[in-house]
Amino acid sequence: MQLTTTSNDNLPLRVGVFDTLAEGLDYAARGATGCNFFSERGRPAHSLTYREIRERALDLGLRFSASGLERGARVALIAETRPEFLITFFACQYAGLIPVPLPLSVNLGGREAYVARLAAMMQRGHASVAVTSEEMLPMLEEAARMAGIERVGSYSDFAALPYQGGEIRPLNKDEPAYIQFSSGSTSLPRGVMVTQHSIMANARGIGQHGLQLRAGDRATSWLPLYHDMGLVGFCLTPAMAQVSVDYLATTTFARRPLLWLQTLSDQGGTIAFAPTFGYELCLRRAAKVEPGQYDLSRWRVAGIGGEMIRASVLQAFADRFADCGFDGKAFLPSYGLAESTLAISFSALGEGVKVDEVDQEAAARRDLALPASAKRAKTFVRCGRPMPEHRIEIRDARGKPLSDRHIGRVFVSGPSLMEGYFRDPEATATAMPEEGWLDTGDLGYLAEGELVITGRSKDLIIVGGRNIWPQDLEWAVEKIEHVRAGDVAAFAVPDQDDSEQVVLVVECRLSDPAARAALRREISAVVQRSAGVSCEVVLTRPNALTFTSSGKLSRAAAKADYLAGRISDLDGTLEEGVYAMAVGAE
């Protein structure tokens, strides 16, 4: 199979300088670059130039329009890493419809939880139609029934809709671009309304400033296309910059992470991103990699984003793959979030990971990030300066801007900000308390103008690069027999290697040890099925959990009580190791 070329001979590189996504694809279609999809074993499976993507998107767009969909109607589609996703996404752009990418994330035996998640998103997005592959159709149909959506079908069903000619009226520059569901809990998902203006501003910032794209660049990605880093960073930005992309499905990477490096090596990829976890997964499988087995010397931007950046893992990766030509200077720490389309800040190209060692005591007690080199220092990674036209402010609890090295809430502004959450004014008002500014919910400080993130919005759990909302785990566990609503608190504590261990504290009224053991197993099974993570289950006495004056569960209090040993397990099986490590890491 012929893969798409790395650069265009007779088409000048234009990065993010279009009014709309449709216009950007029109331009890319004048060249020979495009997208390549590799199989689960890493072999080329499909290859499409941007011209082919455009042609098929135009064809499908006309069929969509002819089928009577109103302008601005939402089209839900499962974001599988395959050509049909891109074609359908851009067909919506041409037909004046708003695509709503849905997650593709299934845990062992997790059908029910996944279907419920799809249904909640389609409902919140008020989708008119839902489309996916033949394989995923049964699950999407089930979800569509729950969400009350009648028009659901496979890609081929929609491609076979009658074609009646007609006119293409793409989404214009003042219209929305798509809805991104990557925020909010499963039960109450929030759809980020990304406009044509914000996606183009972000693509421009990423391409021109962050990555400084140039002729000869080629992107390689396994990132999920329902996630902002995958969709914006490795689908829309490359399309708006005529850059060829080599795709591996996320499940392929999860099973065979080294195929990522193999593909970079084989195709001469120059740009790839991952959360720290992605680099870690490669390291874990690297035992049999021979010196020089891959040629990673052309990989000039190895971006990191999506979760707290762990410098030690990246250093280990750089050391391990140095003999494959990997240069640690290629690391590019970055910061962003879906509410700002994707990116906010990038560190400087070619500098690698810059760490900031700060005094732990001053950080914990006085919210000050004072440089320190002592043993009690905590290491954070610098995420660079905001992109042009974007601003970052650190504010205190009252909203007052703080000066350098004061830790506070990270606020951002600029042309990449979302318009708001789709049909959710309340959540929008909370996230954007002031015109033009977004409260990211993350904690951090500025040092010489560079952003350093010290913590996330306090309750969110991130394991293996995936966001897990504690209330989703709590609600799932509350449905178990013998567990009552309000009996459960979920949170995470640092693990020995700085990743996170999920803890479920459950108030328990069972006196029979065998019944308690069964409950314990059931709880971990439910957590596995709904989120795909292992957890530590702590069964504790009734009324051990703290509630705020307004009756809300205080996870922070539960976590503090757990770490301080004030919450203990009825069977005394609290894992001493995890406990000790967590305390040590505080």
Binding site: G109, E135, M136, M139, T251, R255, S524, Q528, G532
Partner: protein
């Protein structure tokens, strides 16, 4: 299908799958067809991917993600292997 009809044909697959699962069976539980992969073996999402890959490699089959969602027990795993072998 009763056991007598399929017994001799299925037995080896079960044993092979049990063998693959031993690695994930940290508590040394007895493996039966109805053993629940989540509740009894506590296989998390990363381990699940490893397991699926091992099965795919061993039987030279693909187990697409939509089928993973329905894998709750050892029996489901064996049924899927047989189905995908038939499909190949």
């Amino acid at each position: 299908m009763s056991d007598s009809q399929t017994g001799s044909g299925e037995q080896p697959i079960y044993e092979q799958v049990y063998e693959l699962l031993q690695h994930y069976n940290r508590e040394g539980r007895e493996l039966r067809p109805e053993t629940d992969l989540n509740a009894e073996l506590n296989i998390d999402s990363v381990a699940a991917m490893d397991l699926i890959m091992e099965i795919e490699d061993k039987y030279d089959i693909d187990i697409p993600i939509n089928l993973v969602a329905d894998l709750r027990t050892v029996q489901d795993l064996v049924t899927t292997v047989r189905k995908q072998q038939g499909a190949a």
